[in-house]
């Protein structure tokens, strides 16, 4: 507990970076999936 109390800022930093990286990876994967769907739809239309 003392460690947590002394390093509050770094714990906040780790959590914030963790949340951002989670959101970023989700968006990155979503982008890839959308690209695939767009390609499929484009090929269907041909």
């Amino acid at each position: 507990m003392e460690f947590l109390a002394q390093n509050q800022l770094y714990i906040v930093l780790i959590i914030a970076v963790g949340i951002w990286l989670g959101v970023y990876l989700y968006l990155f994967r979503l982008d890839g999936r959308l690209k695939k769907l767009e390609r499929d739809l484009h090929q269907e239309g041909k």
Partner: protein, 232 residues
């Protein structure tokens, strides 16, 4: 692809710098932020609070521009873009409100103080909340698009008044309000040191890039949905 990777790196660096760099009374090194009287450690939230508020303005203006485009060209994609931008604007408006409320609790004593800027963001949340109730209330696609485009234009006209004018002509708790001893204007101009400004403007740039990416993802999803619906 490269832009997306750059955005990932830039925003990670901004978060690390904003939360990790030390705030000291007398900075000796480039990586130390000076302590701003009255803010101290709480100054860190400015790197996230201001960019989210800035992005909500950008998003609402984008929504207006695409609303105008829809009324001129009647292209359903413009309506999709306008609605997506308004949705993102509302999201960032909520984020600005939440980060602001947390900051207010520790600086001014309570989460909500009805300061002019708080009141104006509350009214903006109501205005854009009504935009989405309007959209969900009209079922005919073209009518919905036309009505919401007109609404988005009218709503965006109020944005500069609520964000830039009203909080500066009334007395309040935010910096830059009428009667502020440091003078009117944004806090960055007179209190931030050069290294804080670098982090602040990097944050503004990376949040703007994030908005562009999120908007493109939302528009592409809506476009796919539209095509699939018109097919089925």
């Amino acid at each position: 692809m490269i832009l997306r990777v750059l955005l990932g790196i830039l925003l990670t660096l901004v978060i690390v710098a904003a939360l990790g760099l030390p705030i000291v009374q007398q900075p000796q090194h480039w990586y130390e932020f000076p302590s701003i009287p009255g803010l101290e450690e709480k100054a860190r939230i400015i790197f996230f609070h201001v960019p989210t508020a800035w992005l909500s303005v950008v998003a609402f203006l984008t929504s207006m521009v695409f609303g105008i485009r829809y009324l001129r060209r009647k292209d359903p994609e413009d309506d999709l873009t306008s609605a997506s931008a308004a949705g993102l604007g509302l999201l960032f408006c909520v984020l600005a409100t939440v980060t602001g409320a947390v900051w207010a609790k520790f600086n001014w004593g309570s989460f909500w103080n009805w300061d002019p800027r708080e009141t104006s963001i509350f009214v903006l949340l109501l205005i854009y909340g009504a935009y989405f109730s309007l959209r969900s209330a009209v079922e005919v696609e073209e009518k919905r698009a036309t009505l919401s485009s007109v609404y988005s234009i009218l709503a965006a006209v109020t944005v500069p008044f609520f964000i830039f004018i009203m909080p500066r002509i009334m007395t309040g708790l935010h910096p830059g309000a009428a009667g502020d001893p440091d003078g009117a204007g944004p806090v960055i101009e007179f209190k931030m040191s050069p290294n804080m400004r670098v982090v602040f403007f990097s944050s503004l740039i990376s949040f703007t890039l994030l908005f562009i990416w999120l908007l493109s993802l939302r528009v592409r999803t809506a476009r796919l949905e539209y095509h699939l619906q018109s097919k089925g």
